[in-house]
């Protein structure tokens, strides 16, 4: 049975497809890997998958390069979106890469053995791309335990004091930095099925507070709804209602990534982000 809220997200998303079968970050913009991978998940869409497969490099990754900067972070989302060998190829590319090394210091204390994954090749590891990578590996290549453990360890290490995550700095120059809703939700997607873990419990508690504080943000609400649902949390229904209300009022300001996450969070696409390992 179709759900009218989910259908409104799906219909709005489907209407933004570009002529090459992919999806851009805003309606009318050229297709890009991240928005196309999320749309493929949300819509269970073969055209979007074909776009992703056509843009995979020989090592399975998807990249956007210019000058000395290469962004490969969306490879993890493509791994989740693609089927069969294409998806495993993307996941293998993730397992084979890590963020660059930055030495821990008194100004920036962290475990520098746990690199995680970066936004751009060779850069420092951050919470969001690391959460994507952990989720993709746990779903697509659960046997890559070393990589998964490193990613989970990195997320534990960067947890904000008291619980939750921001973009990835826990303490800078003796200042404890606060958590944000959206990266906290991303981390909780990656850490699903860790219910016996203190980090998981603190993260869920933080998320329940943060999505309410940050309910003005469609992307935050969308990812939070997805995280609450996959973790079977009682707050998922309330968060989804806030998400629908935000969309009715703002259309998420035209952000296709937020719209795709909303469609995933409230639709059947979320099933592909579920972790079934014990």
């Amino acid at each position: 049975m179709s759900d009218p809220v989910s259908d409104s997200f799906l219909d709005a998303l489907a209407a933004t497809r570009t002529s090459d079968g992919g999806f851009g970050p805003r309606a009318g913009l050229p297709s890009e890997p991240e928005s196309t991978a999320l749309a493929a998940l949300a819509l269970d869409d073969q055209e979007a998958r074909a776009w992703l497969a056509a843009h995979q490099r020989a090592d399975g990754s998807l990249a956007r390069s210019l000058g000395s900067v290469t962004n490969e972070a969306s490879t993890a989302l493509a791994a989740l979106a693609l089927d069969g060998d294409a998806g495993r190829g993307a996941a293998n590319a993730i397992a084979a890469t890590r963020a660059g090394h930055l030495e821990s210091s008194s100004a920036l204390p962290f475990d520098d053995d746990l690199r995680g994954w970066p936004w751009t090749a060779g850069a420092f590891g951050w919470v969001e791309p690391t959460a994507w990578a952990v989720l993709a590996l746990r779903v697509v290549l659960p046997g890559t335990t070393d990589a998964i453990e490193e990613g989970v360890g990195m997320l534990r290490d960067r947890e904000c004091v008291g619980g939750g995550w921001n973009y990835g700095n826990r303490i800078v120059l003796d200042e404890e930095l606060p958590p944000f809703g959206q990266p906290t939700a991303m981390a909780m997607l990656a850490l699903q099925a860790f219910e016996d873990d203190e980090v998981w419990r603190r993260g869920m508690a933080a998320l329940r507070g943060l999505w309410r504080q940050e309910a003005a943000g469609g992307l935050t609400l969308a990812v939070a709804t997805a995280a609450l649902r996959v973790n079977h949390d009682y707050d998922a229904t309330a968060c989804a209602a806030a998400l629908a209300d935000n969309f009715d009022r703002t259309r998420f300001l035209g952000d296709i990534v937020a719209l795709a996450w909303a469609a995933i969070a409230t639709g059947t696409g979320l099933g592909r982000l579920m972790i079934n390992d014990p």
């Binding site: 210019l66 120059l173 992307l219 300001l253």
Partner: protein, 351 residues
Amino acid sequence: MSHPVDRRTFLRRSAIAVLGVTAAGLGAANYVQRRRVPWDRDAFGPLGEARVAVVRATSYSHGLEETVLDGLRAVGADVGGARVLLKPNLVEYDPGTTINTDPRLVAATVAAMRRLGAAEVIVAEGPGHRRDTQYVLTATGLSSALADVDAAFVDLNTDAVTARRLRSHYTKLGSLWLPRSVVEADVVVSMPKMKTHHWAGVTLSLKNLFGCVPGRIYGWPKNALHLAGLEPAILDVAAAIRPALAIVDGIVGMEGNGPISGTPVASGVLIFGNDPVAADVVAARSMNVDPERVPYLMEAGRFLGQADLEQIRMEGEDPGQEATDFALLPTFAHLRVGSSAEPAPLPEAPG
């Protein structure tokens, strides 16, 4: 009113000599010695006279539009018929401090630009820490402030992008994706918050331009720029965008552990410039920071804008006389005007 700035607090050194001395003590400034002229000569003309106005302003509520209008006129802002892009500093939201350019100043500037004849005024930013721009826009009050003046906002993190080959070469970036809204604007106005910065010393209109670089490619935070070298990246990004105007929000600035975790400081000034380098040099002086000790500012003065006070036509207040001591982290104590402190080694900046 025009008058010369008191130059006693500035060391009379050529830019290259300054950089040689400073770089010897500052590991972070080593980039300036790698290449004698790290920019394409045909891309940057001779530096002309810059105009900067320091205007007393103690409130965001009373007569701000008139104040902005006066400041823009004082520096000869010519925006008639132009498509103007205002680039405020909007990084993340913390109700306890003053991270961002005040929305009331942004709205007042929209109105002032229209009165000066701008054909179109848009406000654009790509927040550097928060991916959820809609949240930051709303929480900071910028969304409602812009609605009050019927101004459009463009999220530079999701805007269409254009590849731009760099004409300066302080980093190895080579090229940058830049938002089409920025590239197509006739006049880009950098509108930073006046803040100290825990990796760069001060963050003003040049550093503010990091927000033009799209996060969906360079990440949140825009760590690829830090990896390229923070100060070199400030120079290359600023040289790629080359804003025509700067308006520095120092009505309430941030001192100490900026740009996020610092403390509000009521410095009571707005600084206008028709040259972002000149505006930043004067703004730094208004913070009681010696701009000649900020390597990236002095390097920018070689090709991008005017850092020589003799070439800066000052309007309004004397920044030296009106300066407010912005508290500096110990690693940047040497930046204080008249300080004898030695530069301290800086940790690597992750973002």
